[in-house]
Symmetry: C2
């Protein structure tokens, strides 16, 4: 099935997947504008023409790095979609808390807080990250809608609003992790955030 026939010309002398991973780490930490082609070629161990032959342009490489991040680092990879939506959301937030604060990686999330500001000519980079945030929000909303239909979510709960709210928590965790917040800091925030889960009305102080 996966019999890969040998290509015609000179074979690649570097690992494309590994180079993409290294590019992702640079874009993640320093952003699109904060990462130069020289930074990228330096990390990959190749020269500019090789990078351009393999990835097309800086913007295309950035988009591919974003996709790679979503697959490789996305905190959603392993959350089992069970029948308890509240537990599922909480587990997701806790996985974000752990991943965003991992000292071995850039702080925060490459997507949640990526390319929020950029020069006019780099708007496509902001759009790329913004589209991924929009997609994530959309699929999160869809998951909550499904849960509501299955009776796991109270009738008065609004999936779109709830999705925006927990997206904000994730984005806030990303900002604070980028500023150096610890996993304990973020986990404590998750404790509070889960207190807003739609439930019985409660007395105020």
């Amino acid at each position: 099935m996966s019999e890969r026939i040998k290509p015609r010309g000179r074979p690649r002398s570097f690992d494309r997947a590994d180079a993409l991973h290294k590019a992702m780490l640079l874009f993640w930490r320093h952003g699109y504008e904060g990462t130069s082609i020289a930074d990228l070629t330096g990390a990959m161990g190749v020269t500019p023409p090789t990078l351009y032959a393999a990835f097309g342009s800086k913007e295309k490489l950035y988009r591919e790095a974003l996709r790679h991040y979503a697959k490789d680092e996305g905190s959603d990879r392993s959350i089992p979609g069970g029948s308890n939506i509240r537990a599922e959301v909480e587990a997701y937030l806790r996985s974000c808390a752990r991943n965003f604060s991992d000292p071995a990686k850039p702080g925060g999330c490459m997507v949640s807080t990526g390319s929020l500001q950029c020069a006019v000519e780099n708007q496509p980079a902001k759009d790329a990250a913004g589209e991924m945030r929009a997609r994530a929000l959309q699929s999160f909303t869809a998951r909550l809608r499904q849960a509501k239909k299955q009776g796991e979510l109270r009738d008065e709960a609004e999936p779109a609003v709830l999705a925006r709210y927990y997206a904000a928590i994730i984005q806030g965790m990303s900002v604070q992790a980028s500023d150096g917040a610890s996993r304990a800091d973020l986990d404590a925030m998750v404790d509070v955030a889960m207190g807003a889960w739609p439930g019985k009305a409660r007395k105020r102080t």
Copy 2:
């Protein structure tokens, strides 16, 4: 008192405060790295040497623009500190919702989501914004501590955690406003966020 004696040499031919305001708007929308000296001098209507004589360097101008933003646009300008801390926090969040989504201004907050990623050589810019976020978090925590001491906050509430949590809400609102979220979107999020305010324990769904 404010008798301003006339300075010796040639007088300024441009309004420094107005130029600072224009610089702030550019940094706010495009970030530190996304704003060039040419952008700044163009908006100010002066040449580079004039900018450097007036503001020192790009980084110093950025720091000054951040301070100007905090004073001029800071959502804290007008929240009266009363005896109801819950209402005070909610009012603050609502003012953020309104300001972050103002179509006449750049989306989001210049501080909350400013300079999260940057090149190694521009780390001082990230530090400048990060320090402002840290200060805001600190003063927010202090306000909650004070409120707790005055009995406006339940005993089990942790000011530092609660401050981080509402800071995350603000940062999330800033991200989403930067992506085009409306005031209604953000206000709905505030509704949910206030549901996490420490109160009576509540039954879960």
